[in-house]
């Protein structure tokens, strides 16, 4: 129904209701129509009623209706019609003129006739009431200050004109540049003036430009909401960073854009969007997206596309469908290099192979777009850096040969992959090659070589080293690699050739010198193993003796130790004590001499030889034992030989470490710990890490040591130690140590945690906060005893490390998981077949049995078992060692507990076998 017809009907409903009498409800209905701003119907009804009755009451009612009608016309911009109606009403009802003065002013104001409006103010005898009404009108309706300042009906010195003129100047000044306080003091405008809101607004604007935002807000509070300048409160508030409830009008938008790029207006919308993203609720998220994109389009159009790209990326991660999010942002975002890079960075942090594959494809898309957009050219340094990054990603892809690398569904369906072969991207080799061609940097070749060494044959790795040598003829590293590779294959002559080439390049390079010593030492040991002492002496020992010292006394000691072994092999009982004394004199320690001789003898398969010098350990003090051992181990390290600790030395050394005032410094402690670790003496290595952490000074290294010493059933502690060590190494700018820690983490990732571990730590994505590092350090310092399976508690810092969960029984029990690690399907039918997790006799079952048996074993045997498990010995082997072939029967129930029938659910890993 049309509005006109509706109004007519409303009026007709009343006019037809009575004849000559006023129904009681009629005035009420008319007032109701006036109140609800149905002015036309109200006028019709009131006219009809007044025509019928013609009383003073009906006239007043009619005038009310007319007034409402004229107001509505003015509100709708129908100033001409309002003026005509007002004249007509004034002519018919002269008594109404006084009550229509305000409307006349409105009409005059809309006509720009301010003169007429303010003219009464010139009269000195103007009533207070009229003055107030005019001033209220000026305050609420007059925005044209220049016109007010120029009204001819008031004298130039009239306060209103002077105030308006001052405000015009101040407004212009304050919006055009920095102003002094006296410009905005505006003493011409009093607090009670009709123009006082303008004064407050001008001061608010001045504070806004001075970045005195609090003062700005306070001034804005002094601007009445119904005053003329109040319309600027909303955009100003938005520019101060307060959320606006609805979109801007065109003028507001222009103002915000012109003043400051609109970032203030957009900020609250982005905050709301962040909250919606965090809440992970679809509808509020999509709504917040729409609002943010709309405001951004209005206020910050420059970043609109970037915002849309970021929203898509973040939303995809939250699992919102592409269609929904693209609809919310108003279409598919621009798929430029920036976008593909954003997507690639998003997906590459996900350890899942599918996500990694997506990341790989997105990086390739990025590469193509970046080349097209001239970020870089093919074969540029950037291309090499990017390809190296992609190669490392490809390394993390599933090694499953049947895993198919499918390109992701592109956002733009018609996007041509243009020969982007999944198989090519899957190959780290292709990517490494591309990387090294574009950027033949040692790091790139090193990474390629490392990969080839791990995943390809020695020939392939040697080829990489050859390529490296060709690309960078001045590098010694590929030569040293080729030397080591040839040495491993027993190609001693080839190995020497490479060494000589490296020496030609850089004879003084410590790495080359150390490599030479190691090669000669290795060759000498090989000859000793073959019993060819004359060859060992002439071909290697004499050359070792001719080497410049790598460190003080190192070369001479090694040569004498080798000559001692030659004497032992030859059975030269005169030379043996002579060489032994010489060695002791050189090293200044009987313990060092013994450890070195024993280590070399073990390498040369002579450790059972009765001619080897012996040592009575009890004769030596703790200091002598510890310093002597560390000296020998350090010597071996320097020559590239991991000297094992002599058999049976772990406990005496542990006792020596337990002495108060430990006699060795952190550096020696570290050498001892590393030596113990490489000898498999985990208890000693752990004790060294505890002593080192207690001493302080090399926390990163000792945490790294501890991480490697900890048993595999304490993955959270391992992770904590590695991550804290990595963070400390970064802070110390110890790149070498950081690299070692990362390598170890990558290795552990392969072994224990899967790629989740890599995501948080090895990728370096999440540095550990300083507080957590301190917490880890303190907790690990307090853990001075080697952990015991089933008794050690999980670390308190574990929950702060992320999702990696400790798999020990205590942690699993704490998490409410069944100790066996089975599913939690308690409602499984008891008649269902129980499928064992692993076949009887496998490690996990044996480990369970061992754990249950621990409490029943004598303390000494129990400790040995725990130590063996902690060392990583297979449980079956431990059980065989302890019980022989007669494995004791398992208790039917744990001590003090009632036997419980296990109703395990089907282990997920075996479910596939059912089909």
């Amino acid at each position: 129904m049309s509005r006109k017809l509706e109004n007519g009907n409303r009026a007709k409903a009343v006019t037809g209701a009575s004849d000559g009498k006023m129904a009681n409800s009629e005035p009420a209905q008319i007032r109701e129509l006036i109140a609800s701003r149905h002015s036309k119907a109200a006028v019709e009804m009131a006219k009809s009623l007044h025509k019928r009755l013609g009383t003073a009451e009906t006239e007043a009612l009619l005038l009310d209706a007319y007034q409402c009608r004229i107001e509505d016309m003015l509100r709708l911009g129908m100033a001409v019609e309002a003026k005509m109606l007002l004249q007509m009403v004034g002519g018919r009802f002269p008594s109404s003129r006084s009550r229509m003065v305000d409307l006349q002013r409105e009409i005059a104001a809309s006509d720009g006739r301010l003169d007429e409006i303010v003219a009464p103010l010139a009269a000195d005898d103007l009533s207070l009431e009229v003055r107030e009404r005019i001033e209220t009108f000026v305050r609420d309706r007059v925005y044209d200050l220049p016109a007010l300042a120029a009204v001819s009906s008031l004298r130039p010195e009239h306060p209103l004109r002077q105030g308006a003129a001052a405000l015009v100047a101040a407004f212009q000044a304050v919006t055009s540049g920095p102003v002094d306080d006296d410009v905005v003091s505006l003493s011409q405008v009093s607090r009670r003036s009709a123009l006082a809101p303008w004064k407050a607004l001008i001061r608010a604007i001045a504070s806004f430009y001075r970045r005195e935002d609090d003062a700005c807000k306070q001034w804005l509070q002094l601007v009445p909401e119904d005053s003329a300048p109040a319309s600027l409160i909303r955009p100003l508030t938005a520019m101060l960073g307060t959320a606006v409830t609805s979109g801007f009008s065109a003028a507001e938008q222009r103002l915000v854009s012109a003043v400051g790029g609109g970032s203030w207006a957009l900020r609250p919308a982005l905050e709301t969007l962040e909250q919606a993203l965090a809440a992970k609720k679809r509808q509020p998220l999509l709504k917040a997206v729409r609002v943010a994109v709309a405001i951004c389009g209005q206020c910050c159009p420059k970043i609109r596309e970037r915002l849309r790209q970021h929203i898509v990326t973040r939303s995809l991660v939250q699992g919102v469908s592409r269609h929904e999010i693209c609809t919310a942002i108003g279409g598919t975002p621009q798929q430029d290099a920036y976008f593909w890079r954003l997507l690639a960075r998003t997906f590459e942090h996900d350890p899942d192979s599918d996500s990694l594959a997506e990341a790989l494809f997105h990086w390739e898309f990025f590469r193509r777009e970046a080349i097209r957009e001239r970020w870089f050219a093919p074969g540029d340094l950037e291309d090499g850096v990017l390809s190296l990054h992609m190669a490392k990603l490809a390394e993390r892809l599933s090694p499953d040969p049947f895993y198919e690398l499918e390109p992701p569904w592109p956002l733009r369906r018609d996007r041509s992959l243009g020969g982007l072969g999944g198989e090519d991207l899957r190959s780290p080799e292709m990517l490494y090659e591309r990387a090294c061609r574009a950027d033949p940097h040692p790091d790139a070749f090193q990474a390629w070589l490392h990969w080839a060494n791990r995943h390809r044959s020695w020939k392939a790795a040697d080829q990489v080293a050859e390529l490296w040598r060709q690309a960078r003829p001045g590098d010694t590293k590929p030569l040293l690699y080729l030397m080591e590779s040839a040495e491993k294959r027993g190609a001693y002559r080839k190995s020497l050739e490479h060494l000589e080439s490296a020496e030609e390049l850089d004879r003084l390079n410590p790495e080359v010198r150390r490599a030479k010593l190691r090669l000669l030492l290795s060759a000498a040991i090989r000859h000793l193993r073959q019993g060819k002492t004359h060859l060992a002496i002439t071909a290697e020992i004499e050359r070792i003796e001719a080497l410049p010292d790598v460190s003080e006394g190192e070369v001479a000691s090694l040569a004498v130790a080798l000559r001692l072994l030659c004497a032992v092999i030859d059975g030269d009982r005169i030379a043996i004590p002579h060489r032994h004394d010489e060695l002791q004199a050189l090293l200044g320690s009987s313990v060092s001499a013994f450890v070195l001789t024993q280590g070399l003898a073990q390498a040369a398969n002579l450790n059972g030889n009765s001619e080897l010098p012996r040592l009575e350990l009890s004769r030596f003090s703790a200091r002598e034992m510890l310093t002597g051992t560390t000296r020998a181990v350090a010597l071996g390290d320097g020559a590239g030989l991991a000297l094992p600790l002599p058999a049976g030395w772990e406990k005496p050394l542990l006792s020596a470490l337990d002495q108060p005032n430990c006699p060795i410094d952190p550096t020696q402690m570290l050498v001892l710990g590393e030596g113990a670790l490489s000898s498999g003496a985990t208890m000693l290595a752990y004790a060294a890490s505890a002593a080192g952490l207690a001493q302080g000074g090399s926390d990163a290294r000792f945490l790294f040591l501890r991480g490697r010493v900890l048993p595999p059933w304490q993955p959270q502690r391992q992770e904590g130690c590695f991550r804290a060590a990595l963070e400390l190494a970064r802070r110390e700018r110890n790149l070498e140590l950081a690299g070692k820690i990362l390598d170890q983490m990558l290795e552990n990732e392969d072994r224990y945690w899967g790629a989740d571990f890599l995501d948080d730590s090895a990728s370096g994505k999440g540095p550990v906060p300083a507080e957590l590092v301190q917490e880890i350090l303190e907790e690990e310092r307090a853990e001075t005893k080697f952990p015991v399976l089933g008794r050690s508690r999980p670390p308190k810092y574990g929950s702060k490390l992320g999702p990696a969960l400790c798999d020990c029984h205590a942690c699993r029990a704490e998490r409410g998981e069944t100790p066996s690690g089975w599913g939690e399907d308690d409602g499984a039918d008891e008649n269902d077949t129980d499928f064992p997790e692993e076949s009887p006799g496998t490690s996990s079952q044996a480990l369970d049995e061992l754990e249950q048996l621990l409490d029943t074993l004598p303390p000494r045997i129990a400790r040995e078992v725990e130590e063996a498990i902690a060392r990583g010995d297979p449980p079956e082997v431990v059980m065989r060692r302890v019980f022989g072939n007669s494995r004791p029967e398992m208790r039917s129930s744990p001590p003090g507990g009632k036997a419980k029938k296990r109703t395990e659910s089907l282990p997920s890993s075996l479910q596939g076998n059912l089909f």
Partner: protein
């Protein structure tokens, strides 16, 4: 997906006050300028950040790595406003009055 906490290092280009496309000479000059501005004895923290920024940008390879991989998809969306003109521009009274005229 395991999402790490967002951490955003300060932009080395911004620290040195050079544009993203600045070359070796510009970076070196900016570094020397900043050193004068923040000598290590008086402003150790600022000096540290200037040195870190220079360490990152002086080597072309590291600079490329930064350029390629510095974008953080998990960065707060508000970070998009960084680098946009945060200046409060003086526009004259016209756009301000236009708002009032529109609301009339």
């Amino acid at each position: 997906m395991n999402r790490g906490t967002h951490r955003r290092a300060s932009d080395p280009h911004a620290v040195l006050g050079v544009g993203p496309g600045a070359g070796d000479e510009q970076i070196r000059a900016a570094y020397l300028r900043k050193l004068k501005e923040y000598p290590p004895d008086r402003c150790p923290a600022e000096f540290e950040s200037v040195r870190d920024a220079y360490d990152l940008l002086r080597d072309r390879r590291r600079r490329s790595q930064h350029t390629l991989f510095a974008c953080d998809p998990e960065a707060p969306l508000e970070s998009l406003l960084e680098g946009t003109d945060d200046e409060r521009k003086y526009t004259g009274s016209e756009p301000w009055l236009a708002v009032m005229k529109e609301k009339k």
